[in-house]
């Protein structure tokens, strides 16, 4: 039985004594040694950017919808029901890409938080209250009563403010010394664009004269040099706006920073999890990927982005994320190179593909090969053959890779 008796004796003598408060606090992290031995799992993200299944989720979703049944279909709140469609989560993919980047959460995902309010009809007010507190002088302060603005505006503002709040609290929790200025600049920018959007879609009776109308469901980029014109070519659907904030908050220029794999590897991991998001990525909030493509492999006849694992004892350890290239050598043999997706572009694997190379299709989207790895994975046994797992984005890609290897080996 889950009944619990009182934890503290209460008497006519002690009932009105001041109780010592208890702080919620934040938990302590385990030591390095302990962490080293822990297998850390990364949770699968399902929320893909820009997919229209967002709308479908609203329709088909009966169970865990957050919709308050009393709201009308057109209200902004039903748009929050179920799960926001556009890539709407705040994440720190940098968690598992531990190739020694600067603070572990310096990176930020491509599609960021949608700031969905999940608390039924009452949620509009808390969001609006936060808005009222958080607004800075430059943007016109939103009024605390959402009913005096468009619903869309409230929704976007709520989303923005919640994103900022959560982003700031997370980052300050992780690193109290971080510089939050980039975030505030991004906030100003986003707020301004929401404002523009609002005025352009509302009655002329509003304060400002409208500029070019922007469709609903616009998503905003933070920290990019690109401005408003880059926005808004998304089809208008009632998807929830998503905001992303600058990545490393303790560096002056968030992007193009030397932070190695963190910001950039997002591109890798995120797109690999969001197959349909590519077409939207041009205008989305992903950190610019050009750095990744600096190191080009000119004469590869086949290239594929992948994640490389090597087998150690009974489990697979990640070697890195990069691009696999297949090239023809001068002697007519096939060479397989996997180069890391970093500025350095260090080699994760560089082998010749012999005709005897064991190569198999594994699981959903992997190809397994067995060979002596170069560079070695185990310095004590550098010439031992080791199974290597190559994980690619989709099953089709895996099939393709496998087929290509089979054809071209030897």
């Amino acid at each position: 039985m889950a009944k619990r008796i009182a934890d503290k004796e209460l008497t006519d003598r002690n009932w009105d004594q001041e109780e010592e408060g208890e702080e919620a606090g934040t938990f302590s992290v385990a030591s390095e040694d302990v962490l080293k031995n822990r297998a850390i799992k990364k949770a699968k993200r399902r929320n893909t950017g820009g997919e229209s299944e967002g709308g479908g989720a609203f329709k088909g979703f009966k169970g865990f919808s957050m919709a308050a049944p009393s709201t009308t279909p057109s209200s902004s709140l039903t748009a929050f029901s179920g799960f926001g469609g556009t890539g709407s989560f705040k994440g720190f993919g940098g968690l598992s890409n531990g190739t020694g980047s600067t603070p572990s959460f310096s990176g930020f995902p491509s599609a960021a938080k949608a700031g969905v309010a999940f608390n039924g009809p009452s949620s509009a007010q808390p969001g609006a209250d936060i808005a009222a507190q958080q607004t800075n002088g430059s943007a016109p302060g939103p009024s605390p009563a959402p009913c005096s603005r468009s619903r869309e505006y409230s929704r976007q503002l709520t989303a923005l403010n919640q994103s900022v709040r959560d982003w700031i609290s997370k980052h300050v929790n992780d690193n109290p010394l971080c510089d939050l200025n980039p975030i505030f600049r991004d906030y100003e920018r986003h707020l301004a664009s929401i404002e523009r959007h609002k005025t352009s879609t509302e009655d002329p009776g509003q304060k400002r004269s409208g500029s070019a109308p922007l469709p609903a469901g616009v998503s905003f980029n933070f920290g990019q040099k690109v401005d408003a014109p880059a926005l808004g070519s998304l089809t208008s659907k009632p998807s929830v706006p998503s905001f992303s904030f600058s990545s490393s908050s303790n560096q002056s220029s968030p992007f193009g920073s030397a932070g190695p794999s963190a910001a950039l590897s997002f591109g890798g991991t995120k797109t690999s999890d969001a197959p349909a998001a590519d077409d939207k990525d041009e205008e989305s909030e992903e950190p610019p990927k050009p750095e990744v493509k600096e190191v080009k492999e000119d004469d590869a006849f086949y290239s594929k982005k992948c994640k490389l694992f090597y087998k150690k004892e009974s489990e697979f350890k990640e070697k890195g994320v990069g691009t696999l290239h297949l090239k023809r050598t001068a002697e007519g043999k096939t060479q397989m190179i996997v180069r890391a997706d970093t500025n350095l572009g260090n080699i994760l694997l560089n082998i010749l593909v012999p005709s005897t190379l064991p190569c198999s299709r594994v699981g959903k989207n992997n190809v397994m090969v067995v060979c002596v790895p170069n560079p070695p994975v185990d310095d004590k046994n550098p010439s031992v053959a080791v199974p290597l797992l190559i994980r690619v984005k989709t099953a089709e890609d895996a099939d393709e890779l496998h087929k290509t290897l089979e054809e071209k080996k030897g």
């Binding site: 889950a2 008796i5 209460l10 938990f27 385990a30 949770a43 198999s360």
Partner: protein, 517 residues
């Protein structure tokens, strides 16, 4: 005899003046309470008598009260030990006044002076009511000290004599005996049970009549509450059953102090095993307790709420009785009470109701307990939040699938996710258990994907991933398992490897089911 005349005069004064000066008396009684609180050294369960409610006022605040320093112990000893009634009375009264002074009364000195035997012998002098009264008062104040002091009083044989005094025709003497016995009972289960064996309860109950003044009843209720108090062991069941009817009577009066002490008594009696709770609820007192829980006076609300909290920690039947009595209409108010401890106790009670069968959980929903629950999850102080988290987990464990969905829709999931970074590892584990339970419900609906997505949108994934860094290994494991079970990335770790002769064969990891929208 002169003393008799004195007695007559006093009694007549008492009869004439008692009611007029009620307010003044109350003030002195409250001063008494103030002094009690100020004396931190004193044992909490006892009360020293500065002034007795049924005492005539001239007696009460005679100027000599302030000149206590002029009494010398040696004079007192000489007087008390003499054979002269007047001297004995003088000496005893002087001792009483010394023992009644505000700061640091000389309890030990009086005991060490060997005066207790004499005082106890004075108690049985029915022909000397003044002496009886002064001796009873002096012994009351000694018994209000620490355990050693109380022990001294009992060792000198005061108990039977005091119990006899309960039957005194003099109200003030009887009341003084009530008080002294309350102090002795409050020392602990040992003396409490000795008093019970000496049949103190019937003697006390005999003092309750429609004519009994309020001040007397207040003292009596307090003494009864001390007889209900303490566990290890609990008071004998037979004693409890003797006291309960009178306690119920007292609970229906209107005097706030009586109500408060009677509620305390019930809160002590309900703090026990289910059969103890059973004895209490069978009196039919539950509706009255719910009423008293709704009072604005904190000193009544607090013990009533505690009593109800104890009762709902009992069986489902006990809990149902409180629900039938309307507890669910009062709890939302208490969950929003300005005092955090009240919120906490209310949340604790709620968590125990949520631990009941789904019929009771449904009543929680119907009576609108979810919104205030979510509010305290969000805004309560941490101790309250802890109780609220228990409520959520219990809910997810005993609730039907629809009920769990209602819970999620109320915002509880978001709120508990936002608590996943707290220091207290137990709380984190309880939250993870709630989330697991929600998935079990989701499985029955075939909607685990949706729940996963929702958790993701609520920022839960980052927090759960973070928990894998927690210093507590159990938290790490729970978080890890949760991700593995419902947020599996098809991670390589999951790949089983069989080596065969021709090379390595790999079993594919389980493919996530996709839900069609």
């Amino acid at each position: 005899m002169s003393t008799r005349d004195v007695v007559k005069k006093r009694v007549s004064r008492f009869k004439n003046k008692g009611k007029d000066l009620a307010k003044l008396r109350e003030k002195r009684v409250s001063e008494c309470v103030e002094l009690r609180k100020a004396q931190k050294n004193e044992s909490f369960l006892k009360r020293r008598n500065i002034i007795l409610s049924s005492l005539p006022d001239e007696e009460a605040f005679s100027p000599e009260q302030n000149d206590t320093l002029s009494f010398r112990i040696e004079d007192i000893i000489r007087d008390v030990n003499s054979n002269d009634r007047e001297a004995q009375t003088r000496g005893c009264q002087a001792a009483r006044k010394l023992l009644s002074k505000g700061n640091d009364p000389p309890l030990k000195e009086i005991v060490d002076a060997g005066l207790l035997s004499q005082f106890v012998s004075f108690l049985s002098m029915d022909d000397e009511p003044t002496l009886q009264f002064e001796a009873a008062w002096a012994l009351t104040n000694i018994a209000s000290g620490n355990s050693w002091h109380t022990h001294q009083v009992v060792q000198h044989g005061a108990v039977p004599a005091l119990i006899n005094l309960l039957a005194s025709p003099m109200l003030h003497i009887s009341e003084q005996a009530v008080w002294a016995l309350g102090n002795i009972a409050g020392d602990g289960p040992g003396y409490r049970d000795i008093l019970i064996e000496c049949k103190v309860i019937p003697a006390l109950l005999a003092c309750i009549s429609p004519d009994t003044p309020v001040g007397y009843l207040r003292n009596l209720t307090w003494t009864l509450s001390n007889l209900c108090r303490n566990k290890m062991p609990c008071p004998p069941l037979s004693a409890v059953q003797q006291m309960l009817p009178s306690l119920i009577q007292l609970l229906h009066l209107s005097d706030k102090n009586i109500l408060s002490d009677a509620c305390w008594a019930i809160s002590y009696l309900s703090d026990g095993s289910n059969d103890r709770i059973d004895v209490v609820v069978k009196t039919g007192i539950v509706p009255r307790l719910v009423e008293l829980m709704n009072r604005k006076e904190l000193f009544i609300l607090t013990p009533a709420l505690r009593a109800i909290g104890n009762i709902v920690s009992g069986s489902d039947l006990h809990t149902q009785m409180t629900i039938d009595a309307g507890v669910l209409n009062v709890l939302p108010k208490l969950l929003r009470h300005p005092k955090p401890t009240v919120q906490k106790e209310a949340a604790w009670a709620l968590s125990n109701i949520a631990a009941g069968p789904c019929k009771q959980i449904q009543q929680l929903i119907t009576c609108g307990l979810l919104p205030p629950l979510v509010e305290v999850l969000r805004n309560g102080d941490f101790k309250t939040q802890k109780e609220a988290v228990w409520a959520v987990t219990n809910f997810t464990s005993g609730g039907t699938v629809e009920q769990v969905v209602s819970l999620v829709q109320s915002g509880a999931l978001e709120a508990i996710i936002n608590l996943l970074q707290v220091k207290d590892a137990k709380v984190i584990l309880i939250i993870l258990e709630a989330i697991n339970n929600m998935f079990i419900a989701a499985e029955k609906l075939g909607e685990t994907e949706k729940l996963s997505l929702l958790i993701e949108e609520l920022g839960g994934l980052e927090r759960i991933e973070m928990l894998q860094n927690h210093e507590n290994g159990i938290v790490y494991q729970a978080a890890h398992d949760l991700i593995e079970k419902y947020f599996n990335d098809g991670d390589v770790e999951e790949v089983q490897v069989d080596s065969t002769q021709t090379g390595f064969e790999f079993k594919a990891p389980d493919v996530q089911k996709k839900f069609e929208f």
